[in-house]
């Protein structure tokens, strides 16, 4: 039986309610809760190291990633929306968490990566997706022609750059904690066990080195798209323009300080953390306004 839905003008529009999709039951709460339990287990594992706890944490992390993957595949939130990009970045970082936890079994990897994943998932609550009258997320369009293609390129470049910043952020926080431990002369194989300072600095460096060209290209494509859009004039007071340009400047500064001034260690880690803060701001206010398509 047809069910009537009402549009903004109060006019009833006959619409057939579609059958529920097979994975409609998987929500953000499912994977958010799994990641939370994994994080709690990781924290508990710090106090009482037990292989079983580590395995359980990995199990919950893996379950969360599976639910996260199904959610993204089933709902297909557009990359051009904050909602979609935040969830996709969180997904990539969840993969990063699982990889790190399996690869560095004795390190407190999850304690640093999972909060970022959870933070990004939580942030999606502040930027709800566009939904159809059935309450489903309006999915990304399949066609990638013309302007939509360049929007997709722009979004993908920025997203990959954002992943790089997130990894740089995680590496920087780990670096600061490890440096603090060494300064306090904490026992090496107890408490929060981390990678060496050298390794963490290299991780930060690679993340930023890879992110900068991606960010630059993404920003350039974004500017071109804006200039060619219906309102070609760039609005420099628009937070998304300011955020994007500021982020690029901070990145350029980071690279200059590293390679020009040979800044190292804590200062660089602190700057990377600031860049991450700016990224969150940019993600919250900026995306290419092409509805329905990446």
């Amino acid at each position: 039986m047809p069910i009537l839905f009402y549009n903004e003008n109060g006019i009833a529009a006959p619409t057939l309610k579609t059958d529920p999709m097979p994975f409609d039951g998987i929500t953000r709460f499912c994977f958010g809760a799994s990641y939370t339990v994994a994080l709690l287990l990781e924290l508990f594992q710090l106090l009482r190291p037990r292989p079983a706890l580590r395995l359980a944490a990995l199990g919950f992390g893996g379950a969360g990633l599976l639910a996260h993957t199904i959610f993204l595949a089933a709902q297909r939130p557009p990359l051009s929306s904050q909602f979609g990009s935040l969830l996709l970045i969180a997904w990539i970082l969840a993969v990063f968490y699982l990889y790190g936890s399996v690869h560095y079994r004795n390190l407190a990897w999850g304690v640093f990566v999972l909060p970022v994943v959870l933070g990004l998932v939580a942030l999606t609550s502040a930027v709800p997706p566009d939904e159809d009258p059935h309450g489903r997320i309006v999915p990304a369009l399949d066609s990638l022609r013309g302007e939509r293609f360049w929007s997709f390129v722009h979004g993908t470049l920025l997203l990959l750059a954002a992943v790089g910043v997130c990894i740089g952020f995680v590496a920087s926080v780990m670096y600061l904690v490890q440096a603090r431990r060494i300064k306090a002369k904490a026992l090496p194989n107890t408490g929060v066990r981390l990678l060496s300072l050298e390794r963490l600095e290299a991780m930060n460096r690679r993340a930023i080195n890879l992110s900068f060209p991606l960010l630059t290209a993404g920003v350039v494509v974004g500017i071109v798209l804006m200039l060619q859009g219906p309102h070609p004039a760039l609005d420099w007071t628009d937070p998304k323009s300011v955020g994007g340009v500021l982020l690029w400047l901070v990145f350029a500064l980071l690279l200059y300080l590293r390679y020009g001034v040979h800044l190292r260690g804590r200062r660089l880690a602190q700057l990377t953390i600031a860049a991450f803060g700016l990224l969150l701001f940019t993600l919250a206010v900026s995306h290419v306004p092409v509805q329905g398509g990446p």
Binding site: Q178, A179, R180, R181, I182, K183, A184, K185, L187, P188, N189, T190, L195, S196, L197, E198, R199, H262, L263, R264, G265, R266
Partner: protein, 427 residues
């Protein structure tokens, strides 16, 4: 079965006597052979810097093995008085000897609980005895099981976790700062004994190069030759400090060599590269104020010793569970050995009763046949035979069970002797 463990260790014997009682590698074959000839027993000798122990076993014991006999043997072998030796020797018999070996192999009886070296030394002692045919079924089973116990204790408890030596602790600290060592320079300042050991550990990281400096260039050259390094004149200390990534300082200097002021000057040439300084000299060579936990990570002997104390305290928590495993394995070994060694006696006991029963039943049936004029049916015969068999089985069940179970205190040996005498099983 007779099993005896006699020996002395760091707890009850001073090092000078232990040194005199120790068996050099070339002495061991002769000692094992003499023990076999003299006492007709299986023998394994465990001789390390912390203990000298003899494990002797004999399946039948016309003359009991004892610590007195072993003291006599040790006295003659090493040219010492047996009477002087005897008070220093402890003695573990039967089940206690089994437990003792398992505790030794699992490093529960070691000077540093959980150290891994002793398991290898026990294995080596057994292999040598096996090579010289002084190991029989009992010691073979015992030492094989001892290896398994040591492995179980190591893997199932945290008793072997963490590092004890200053050298290992130093490497742990270095690994907090660096991951790759192929591009790193190690600078050794001084030529102390402790430094050599730590350098050996650091060398395993495969650094790009090792530089050695000392007030005496000759000594520096000696150390450098030992580690494929390069000797550097003392006057170039600041220059090599500026290029080093890991510094190992172990001089006998009475005062600080590198003050905070001097280090600041060196740092200006380092362009912010981090350095790990392992100052294991006493008195210290580097001013502790230079440690900032990032560009300059300075660890002195106290910092390194803290790891050792923490590891030891942590290991002590695992002694209880480890003792539990030893107890469990010791019971299992005794039970299995008792079952194996009592098997022939039990078989003989049953056989003896079977033949006696057969004679009695045959006689009874013949008499009954005569009395009843051959009217007894086959069923009645089978019933009579079955009743006697049942009686025999029930009568032997308890003693056989008691023998098969064995007892933790080694009581099965007494039982076995009693059964032999009571039922004349030797005849």
């Amino acid at each position: 079965m007779m099993l005896l463990a006699v020996g002395c260790n760091f707890r009850n014997t001073a090092v000078d006597l232990r040194e005199r009682l120790a068996f050099a590698d070339h002495q061991l074959p002769r000692a094992l052979s003499e023990l076999g000839v003299r006492y007709g027993c299986e023998a394994v000798i465990l001789s390390t810097c912390n203990r000298v122990e003899l494990y002797l076993a004999r399946l039948s014991a016309p003359v009991a093995l004892s610590a007195d006999l072993v003291a006599e043997f040790l006295g003659e072998f090493h040219g010492l008085s047996a009477n002087d030796l005897r008070p220093h020797l402890y003695e573990h018999l039967g089940v206690d000897a089994v437990r003792h070996l398992f505790r030794v192999a699992a490093s529960l009886d070691s000077l540093i609980v959980g150290e891994g070296q002793i398991a290898g030394q026990v294995k080596q002692a057994y292999e040598l005895a096996k090579k010289h045919d002084s190991v029989g079924p009992l010691l073979h089973g015992l030492f094989q099981q001892g290896r398994l116990v040591a492995k179980r204790v190591r893997t199932e408890t945290g008793i072997a976790r963490g590092h004890i030596s200053v050298s290992s602790a130093a490497v742990d600290h270095v690994k907090q700062v660096f991951s790759h060592f192929g591009d790193k320079t190690i600078l050794v300042i001084g030529a102390g004994k402790m430094g050599e050991l730590t350098l050996r550990h650091l060398k395993q990281l495969k650094p790009r190069r090792i530089l050695v400096t000392n007030r005496s260039l000759d000594k520096a050259q000696t150390v450098a030759e030992g580690c494929n390094g390069t000797a550097i004149p003392w006057g170039q200390l600041d220059d090599v400090l500026a290029g080093a990534d890991i510094v190992l300082s172990t001089t006998g200097a009475p005062d600080v060599i590198v003050s905070a002021e001097r280090w600041r000057r060196v740092q200006t040439k380092r362009s912010g590269r981090p350095v790990v300084i392992l100052d294991i000299a006493v008195p210290r060579d580097f001013d502790p104020a230079i440690h900032d936990g990032e560009e300059t990570c300075l660890f002195n002997i106290d910092d390194l010793m803290r790891i050792r104390e923490h590891t030891l305290a942590d290991r002590l928590k695992h002694v209880g569970p480890a003792e539990g495993i030893v107890e469990q394995e010791q019971r299992r070994f005794v039970k299995e050995w008792t079952r194996r060694s009592n098997g022939p006696i039990i078989a003989r006991l049953i056989q003896r009763h079977d033949s006696k029963r057969a004679v009695i039943v045959r006689g009874l049936l013949e008499r009954l046949d005569t009395r009843l004029n051959g009217v007894m049916t086959d069923e009645a015969r089978a019933e009579i035979e079955g009743a006697f068999r049942l009686y025999q089985n029930q009568m032997l069940h308890e003693p056989i069970s008691a023998l098969a179970e064995g007892t933790p205190d080694g009581g099965s040996h007494t039982l076995l002797e009693a059964l032999r005498k009571l039922f004349r099983l030797e005849e």
